[in-house]
């Protein structure tokens, strides 16, 4: 609700609206001295162009949309941080939408975005998204679209991800080398490629080291935290308790800590664990948590960079960019080999 508009500004200057507009946009049609006069008056009258009129006319919003499952999540908070940094640099605004891991929300958010409110979209899928119809329709509408981390497998689109398979493999191998024989895997969702890739890495590591892949040791978790806790409890109280856990996502590892604390189970003595995590306090936990840490901030930066390249040049679609960054495995106490009995 800025009060002064071009009309008033023009009146105050004794110029036409069009000349003022051109002066402010630094058009060659306007003389240097007039430009100066206009800019000065604009500042004095505190003129702010109406963004809607401008967007309507230019068909550009200078806004990007970011669609993520949740914000109270260390990974996504860091990614947003990176995205915001790039957007600010480009003079763009950032509209954030949370799906709360609910596909219905994701679909309706995409429908909103179809309205043309944004010049581009960054997105990370929600755990229960199976059909990609809403995503392809967004893409087909001509709005540049880049996925990060949780990307769809069934469609051709630019993505920024991490080396999930390799990370899953290395994490599991690390547990094996620390002496684990029965390693469980806590999966985020069987629909998400990142979860499956991490799990495939896990399974291949088991196979490589001659360990059996047991279905009972692969726990498909849900979006209900309470229910996940009960799944984890069941896993750890079962007749054949695992001696290692590979958690594909931070939240589940934290749940494991709570359960072991409640059960009096000792990490790493009775149970070792390693998890994907961006927890800043991983090294301060009791015991410190071994993590595979994704470069979350950089993922945000790269995804935004990719998006802006698409927004700026119209020439997208010919080459589909797939960027893969590396995660780092940080060994800490929670997966430490116990050297009590000599062999």
């Amino acid at each position: 609700m800025s009060n002064t508009n071009l009309k008033q500004l023009a009146a105050a200057l004794g110029l036409s609206i069009s000349s003022v507009s051109k002066a402010l946009r630094d058009s060659y049609e306007i003389s240097a001295e007039t430009k100066k006069r206009v800019v000065e008056m604009a500042n004095r009258m505190n003129y702010q162009p109406n963004p809607f009129a401008s967007s309507l006319r230019r068909k550009k919003s200078a806004t990007i949309g970011v669609v993520i499952p949740e914000i109270a999540n260390n990974f996504f908070a860091l990614a947003i941080d990176g995205i915001q940094m790039v957007a600010e640099q480009k003079g763009f605004h950032v509209l954030t939408y949370l799906t709360h891991e609910n596909n219905t929300n994701e679909v309706s958010t995409v429908r909103h975005l179809l309205g043309g409110r944004v010049d581009g979209v960054l997105m990370s899928l929600c755990r229960d998204t199976q059909s990609v119809d809403h995503l392809t329709s967004l893409q087909e509408s001509g709005i540049p679209l880049v996925f990060f981390d949780r990307v769809p497998e069934q469609m051709s689109c630019p993505t920024v991800t991490t080396d999930d398979y390799e990370s899953g493999f290395r994490a599991t191998e690390h547990l094996i080398q620390s002496g684990c024989k029965r390693i469980a895997c806590l999966s985020l969702s069987h629909y998400l490629s990142i979860s499956n890739k991490r799990m495939n890495g896990y399974m291949d590591a088991l196979k490589k080291h001659g360990l059996l892949v047991e279905n009972g040791l692969i726990v498909q978790c849900t979006n209900d935290n309470e229910y996940n806790l009960s799944l984890i409890k069941a896993l750890l109280k079962g007749r054949k308790r695992p001696d290692g856990i590979f958690s594909t996502v931070e939240k589940l590892a934290i749940s494991v800590y709570y359960v072991t604390q409640e059960m009096g189970l000792q990490i790493p003595k009775q149970l070792k664990i390693i998890s994907f995590s961006n927890l800043r306090t991983a090294s301060l936990l009791n015991p410190s948590l071994s993590t595979i840490t994704q470069p979350a901030f950089e993922i945000g930066v790269e995804a935004a960079g990719l998006l802006f390249r698409m927004i700026e040049k119209k020439t997208f679609g010919n080459r589909i960019d797939k960027l893969e960054l590396k995660s780092t495995l940080i060994e800490r106490k929670s997966s430490e080999r116990i050297l009590i009995n000599k062999k």
Copy 2:
């Protein structure tokens, strides 16, 4: 960049643009059957109204702006979560801006917002904001403005905060009752009222219990993490080391943990600590961290609620709402009394 507009829709229906618009807005001027026809065709043609044209005409953006210091912060992430929930309920979009604790960014963000891009603003000040000129000008422009947590003291405006003074008092008293005699206070910023209120509570608790307020024990921290670490190190390595720390903000408590870990200082035996924090893993730290936990999500919900009341009724300004929620003190190991020597 939705393709079909009202004009095309009208043509396809053999109606005028105005009738179609009215039908879609469910005007009483349009017959029920025509409305039905219009809605069906709109769906079939995948019509999405152009948000800029609509905003331009109605002088409403259905968007709120949220200005916060940082997003990779448990408190703010939770608050945003609450804000988003309310906004979504109201059918509003959320534009997020990060100041990175930098006043210059805050000022320029506010200038952008003055353009009328949003119907209301939720804000939490950055640590070095002293002058409130940019804030009053935003307020005077007629855009509803609500502050949460970090609120300005010098201006009259609606706010949502917590019982910071009392929480500071109780936290300090708790340390005293656990046996601390020399309690340090880690302050976020001497410009922010929340930091000062917490510190005042700290000082009054010391006085009540006959303890001296020592300037050397009040550490004004900065936005430079490395420098803060050195301040904390200096504090803990000084000739008269404190036996308790009251941290006004989570990040500083984490730094203390790192320093004590490095120095081999034992919490709570040699040093007790309590901190404002929304860390979900507080109870899993080594040792578990005593916290004053703010209802961050609720703060977001309440602040957004307040803002929407202002947006919906034009009648604001007569009564200034000041909401104060309660924080909860959770005692954990880090501030536990040590019962070694009988008295």
